[in-house]
C-alpha cells in the first residue's frame, strides 16, 4: 500500500495517523506541506526515522524545492522522487490512500 500525506506534521495529525496505520513494507510519500516532516532535527524526526526503518519513506522533490527545504537536511533513509517517481510508486503498490 502507498500512503500519501500532504499536511505539515506541526499543523495536523495526518502524518501521525498515517504512521500509525502503515504496516511493514508499506510506502509513504510526503507531498505538499508534509515535506516539512522530512527534515532532520524536528520534533517529529524520531517518529519519521522509526517509520523509515520499517516502511519506505519518500518525499516529493518539487514540493521540497518549492519550500526551500534542502535535500541534504533530509532524515537518513528518505528517498526523493519527482512526479514520475510518484507515478512509479502508485504502479508498484496496488492501493493508494491519501491522508488529508
Amino acid at each position: 500500500m502507498l500512503h500519501t500525506v500532504n499536511k505539515s506534521p506541526f499543523e495536523r495529525n495526518a502524518l501521525a495517523s498515517c504512521l500509525a496505520h502503515a504496516t511493514d513494507g508499506a510506502a509513504i510519500l510526503l507531498i505538499e506541506d508534509a515535506v516539512y516532516g522530512a527534515t532532520k532535527g524536528t520534533s517529529v524526526a524520531a517518529k519519521v526515522e522509526a517509520a523509515a526503518a520499517k516502511c519506505k519513506v519518500f518525499v516529493l522533490g518539487p514540493d521540497l524545492a518549492a519550500r526551500g527545504m534542502s535535500e541534504d537536511k533530509l532524515i537518513d533513509g528518505i528517498t526523493v522522487v519527482d512526479y514520475e517517481g510518484f507515478v512509479d510508486l502508485t504502479v508498484e503498490h496496488s492501493v493508494v490512500q491519501a491522508w488529508l
Binding site: 500532504n6 514520475e84 507515478v87 502508485t90 504502479v91 496496488s94 491519501a98
Partner: protein, 119 residues
C-alpha cells in the same frame, strides 16, 4: 495502467489540484492512461469558465482542458456539488462535463488505481 483521479479542492485555497495535474501529466508521460478526473467538493470550481487568473499565474482549468483534448481524459464535475456552488452548464468551461457521482464510483471500479488529491 489506467488511473482515476479525484480532485477535492478548488484552484486557489489549496495545492491539491496542482498536485493532481502534475501527477496526471507525469502518468501520461510515462505511457499510462488517465481515464477520468472527477471534480468534487470545492474541486468543482476548477471547471468555472469565468475564472480569470492574472497572466503570470497558471490557468489550471485551461491546463486540464488541454490535457483532456490531447490525451482523451474525461473531466467530470459532480452535478450536486456543482449546483451547491453555482456551477452549471452556463458557467462550465470547455472540456469539462457535468454528471453524477456515479461517474466517480464507476472509474473507481474500472481504473487500476484511484488517486485522491484534497485538503
Amino acid at each position: 495502467m489506467k488511473f482515476g483521479i479525484l480532485v477535492n479542492e478548488g484552484p486557489y485555497n489549496h495545492q491539491a489540484v496542482d498536485s493532481a495535474y502534475q501527477f496526471a501529466k507525469a502518468a501520461i508521460a510515462k505511457g499510462h492512461t488517465v481515464s477520468r478526473v472527477f471534480f468534487y467538493y470545492d474541486g468543482v470550481h476548477n471547471a468555472n469558465k469565468l475564472l480569470e487568473a492574472p497572466q503570470d499565474e497558471r490557468q489550471i482549468g485551461k491546463l486540464w482542458a488541454e490535457m483532456a483534448k490531447e490525451h482523451g481524459v474525461d473531466l467530470v464535475v459532480c452535478v450536486a456539488a456543482g449546483l451547491r456552488r453555482g456551477l452549471k452548464e452556463e458557467t462550465l468551461a470547455e472540456g469539462f462535463r457535468i454528471s453524477g457521482l456515479g461517474q466517480l464510483i464507476e472509474v473507481g471500479i474500472q481504473a487500476d488505481r484511484m488517486m485522491t488529491f484534497g485538503d
